[in-house]
């Protein structure tokens, strides 16, 4: 009896496997960044609802993981589009070329502001990039300009005008793309503003890089996991701590959280869109041009993504928390995307 079940199941499995491999793919497959995921999924849903084809499958794999899958090759087994919360790296582009993924179209879809925020019940704070660096770097310049382990316990130790509460910042772990962006946008910029650090940058670039790339390990910076909602919840219960997360989470929780002004600019929609707020990064999708026409609907999907219905300031992506690009830039990007202009590799680094 048992052996019959066994053989039947093996046959069924082989059959199913054969069918699966032989079937032509009629559904767009998208991988990549979890930051872009909420926006790409919204476009995918609109695409499916408008009857332009099967709703694309959008995986949340992280930017790096997405690039790996995307660049692995051309053909049905490989994804058509990847989401990225940073530009493609030269190394990734070369990997793509090596595996036969020759024609890649880059589309900048919007901007994601990284916000430092705290509970509305807590003290109001405005910070500079330099103060953020001094509060969170593992080693900071001491009185003689040499790097010492971070001595600051309270915010007021850094600057008397800041509140007299313990430095406690909740943020993403090192595996997260948000964390990489935070280092580049806040820590590096802040380190450059610091006099002693600027001198160090000239004298010893490697030590300088190491300084802004390492976070404190003494409890002032708390790795709160990849899930931004967890950080939001923790801020609600502890009014003196700060959190680092994407602007869309701040926008959804305006009732409870206040964004910290960085260098005098509060993280708000207009300030991020215009580029005034410095803690912001562009978001991209990358399209495999070789799949256009093979997997049906890719061109229509891209057109939907860059349409004013989706990407304008009134579009549905803005309602989902995406900070959209200024109109002139968006129009140019839309035109390039529709024409499927491919990357040459020279614009990447």
């Amino acid at each position: 009896m048992g052996s019959k079940i066994l053989s039947v199941s093996v046959v069924a499995l082989a059959l199913a496997a054969g069918l699966g491999a032989a079937e032509a793919r009629d559904q767009i497959r998208i991988v990549g960044s979890s930051t872009v995921y909420p926006f790409t999924t919204a476009v995918a849903e609109a695409f499916g609802k408008a009857g332009m084809g099967k709703t694309p499958v959008v995986e949340s794999t992280g930017t790096g993981g997405g690039m790996k899958l995307f660049c692995a090759g051309v053909g049905e087994a490989h994804p058509d589009i990847t989401n990225a919360s940073r530009a493609m790296k030269k190394g990734e582009f070369d990997e793509c070329q090596k595996n036969g993924v020759k024609d890649i179209v880059e589309v900048k879809v919007g901007i994601d502001g990284l916000a430092l925020a705290h509970s509305k019940a807590g003290p109001k704070v405005a910070l500079t990039m330099e103060q953020v660096f001094l509060a969170l770097a593992e080693r900071v310049p001491g009185a003689d300009g040499k790097l010492v382990p971070n001595p600051y316990k309270n915010w007021s130790d850094i600057d008397k005008s800041l509140p007299n509460v313990k430095i406690e910042v909740l943020g993403p772990p090192p595996t997260s793309g948000t964390r990489d962006s935070f280092h580049e946008l806040f820590m590096e910029a802040g380190a450059k503003k610091n006099k002693a650090m600027a001198e160090l940058a000239k004298a010893d670039a490697k030590a300088f890089d190491k300084a802004w790339k390492s976070m404190r390990q003494d409890g002032a910076y708390i790795e709160a996991g990849e899930n931004d909602n967890v950080i939001v919840q923790k801020l609600e219960t502890n009014k003196n701590s700060f959190g680092i997360f994407g602007y869309s989470y701040l926008d959804e929780n305006t009732a409870k959280l206040a964004g910290v002004a960085i260098d005098g600019v509060v993280p708000e929609y207009d300030a991020i869109s215009s580029g005034k707020y410095k803690g912001a990064r562009p978001l991209f999708i990358y399209i495999k041009k070789q799949h256009v026409g093979i997997v049906p609907g890719i061109d229509k999907f891209v057109t939907e993504y860059v349409s004013s219905k989706a990407m304008s300031a009134d579009g549905y992506l803005a309602r989902k928390g995406l900070v959209t690009l200024p109109k002139a830039e968006a129009d140019k990007i839309a035109a390039n995307a529709k024409a499927m202009m491919t990357l040459t590799g020279a614009e990447l680094h």
């Binding site: 048992g2 069918l19 499958v57 995986e59 794999t61 087994a77 007021s156 899930n227 009732a255 989902k320």
Partner: protein, 575 residues
């Protein structure tokens, strides 16, 4: 042992020596203490379980209900089917959202401003047209008539209504008001000091803010740096301004988004106060104020939204519209069938659990079909037929080791073997089922071996003694008797597989999938993955959806464990 020993010692006639008595006391005490520990542990775990389940239910159950807006939708023939041929395709693709929007605008007439109109239209879900479409498709003769149809409202509106669905009342005005309307601007003049109380309240808030600033100044003023001095000067300026405003009694105040919202309502009109004086206010009409004129005493009321507009998600305009709709009896809280009928969506009010449920079911089916025969056969062979030698020892140890391998490793294996080597489709329940089968196979083999071992050898020996072959003895007698134990082990293994997410990450099942899978090679996701994905989305309304999905998953798990218990009770043999 003690149970047997103690009564004997009590019944003995000769007195127990003091030393023995003392020892006995210590032993009794130790036993009582042990029982107390056990009871305490049990109570503690019960409290945790109750608290956890209670929390999940409190958060999750509201997701099963959803506010609907009942509209009289005019099913216009020229919008739905301009050609008049009643072709199904034309009926399906017509713009039903536009019809729902039109019906909503009829309920709240006279809204002119573009901004206000957009706010009103955004109260409806983007899926508001779906029930209208369903009604028309099920009965095309309705076209051209007017029908009462309940449509979905947006998730944010739903959240607001769930938090304070009663609508906000107000204090009735005592004197008469004279309203002058020009466009959206409204001026209201009272005969007497009608608004003094409200004005005083605003002044109190200003005074409190000034005090908070002064405290901050006092704290930082010790510093000497330029930054500190500049900040002190800036704060002092702000504080002085606030104090001046708070001190000027009966001076009119401008109300901005950082102050509580005060509104005056009469009839269908609602005016948000932007400038508040003791006997005269100016404001903007949120709901049309008509031509103005005299408003009698007792016909108007002063309403208050205590949270400043900047500090909440729902704007005054939205609250005004929602209050009006609630007042008109158009809002109904209904069971959210869509949650069990729909696949995933980026609109919280449209998102459903069905796709993930079907995905979980298909994945577990593949797992079950693979695991049970292979697992049981492996167990039977190892237990009954395999020679006891070094090789089988190694296999045995490795099966036990396999049961302890972290689940993500099986995902990596699945990626390398099933996807990259066999080229099976990504995100498919087939691959998910294969990976989970590998994951639970050791559990099932171990459980099945234990069940087979528990069958008394006398049964097999009797069969052998009556001339049955070894295979007949095992398959006709041992295996049927071991089945309840094997079933229990299998179901517990399946419940384990049901809760896994990590291995599925590697094979692409952590994905946004709208279409409900129809077979094992369609793209699908599973329940725990759906919960994880929803928990990570920024929209507030997805929090409730997450908890709702957890409730469904728990229900699924309880059902499976219940089945395990039932099977055990039903088929259990004692010998």
């Amino acid at each position: 042992m003690t149970d047997v020993a103690l009564p004997v010692s009590k019944n003995q006639s000769r007195p127990v020596s003091a030393a023995v008595g003392a020892r006995l006391k210590v032993r009794y005490r130790a036993e009582r203490r042990f029982r107390a520990y056990g009871l305490f542990a049990l109570l503690l775990t019960s409290v945790f379980v109750v608290a956890l389940l209670g929390d999940i239910l409190i958060r999750g159950v509201p997701a099963f209900w959803q506010h609907h807006l009942v509209l009289d939708v005019d099913l216009k023939a020229d919008v739905i089917d301009p050609s008049g041929k009643r072709e199904v395709e034309a009926l399906r693709t017509a713009d039903y959202n536009a019809l729902a929007q039109q019906a909503l605008q009829e309920v709240v007439p006279g809204i002119k401003g573009r901004q206000a109109r957009r706010t009103l239209s955004r109260l409806l879900s983007t899926g508001a047209g779906d029930p209208v479409r369903a009604a028309v498709l099920s009965d095309p003769t309705l076209i051209g008539t007017r029908q009462k149809i309940a449509v979905l409202i947006s998730a944010d509106a739903d959240l607001y209504l769930k938090a304070n669905g009663k609508g906000s009342g107000g204090t009735l005005g005592k004197g008469a008001l004279a309203a002058t309307v020009s466009g959206d601007d409204v001026a209201l003049a009272a005969g007497g000091p009608e608004f003094t109380a409200a004005l005083a309240e605003v002044k109190t808030i200003l005074a409190a803010r000034a005090r908070a600033l002064r405290a901050e100044i006092a704290r930082i003023s010790g510093g000497n740096s330029d930054a500190v001095k500049a900040r002190v000067a800036e704060l002092t300026g702000e504080a002085e301004k606030l104090e001046a405003r708070a001190g000027a009694k009966d001076q009119p105040e401008e109300l901005d988004g950082n102050m509580p919202s005060l509104l005056v309502g009469w009839g269908d009109a609602l005016v948000k106060i932007t400038r508040l004086g003791p006997d005269k206010v100016e404001g903007a009409a949120l709901l049309p104020a008509g031509d103005g004129g005299e408003i009698k005493a007792g016909d108007w009321s002063l309403r208050r939204y205590a949270t400043p507009e900047n500090a909440r998600k729902t704007t005054d305009q939205e609250i005004a519209f929602l209050d009006r709709l609630v007042g008109a009896g158009r809002i109904e809280n209904r069971f959210n069938f869509l949650f069990f009928k729909a696949g995933d969506s980026r609109e919280p009010e449209l998102a459903g659990i069905r796709g993930a449920l079907v995905g979980s079911f298909l994945t577990l089916l593949v797992t079950l079909v693979l695991c049970v025969p292979i697992g049981v056969m492996a167990a039977v062979y190892l237990e009954e037929f395999a020679p006891k030698n070094r090789l089988t020892d190694i296999i045995e140890v490795n099966i036990n080791n396999l049961a302890a391998v972290p689940s993500i490793v099986f995902g990596l294996l699945g990626l390398a073997v099933f996807l990259n080597f066999f080229n099976l489709p990504r995100s498919a329940p087939l691959v998910g089922g294969l990976v989970l089968a590998l994951l639970v196979l050791p559990t099932i083999i171990i459980a099945a071996r234990a069940a087979i071992k528990a069958v008394p050898p006398s049964i097999k020996e009797a069969a052998l003694g009556l001339g049955a072959s070894h295979q007949q003895a095992v398959f006709h007698h041992v295996l049927p008797l071991a089945m309840p134990g094997i079933m229990t082990g299998t179901i517990i293994g399946m419940a384990h597989a049901l809760g896994e997410t990590a291995p599925l990450l590697m094979i692409g099942m952590v994905a946004f999938i709208v279409d409900i899978p129809g077979g094992v090679t369609d793209a699908a996701t599973v329940m725990p993955v759906q919960i994880y994905l929803w928990s990570d989305l920024p929209e507030q309304a997805f929090k409730a959806k997450t908890a709702g999905a957890i409730v469904v998953l728990l229900g699924f798990l309880f059902a499976m464990n219940g089945a395990a218990i039932w099977l055990r009770k039903r088929f259990e043999r004692r010998w």
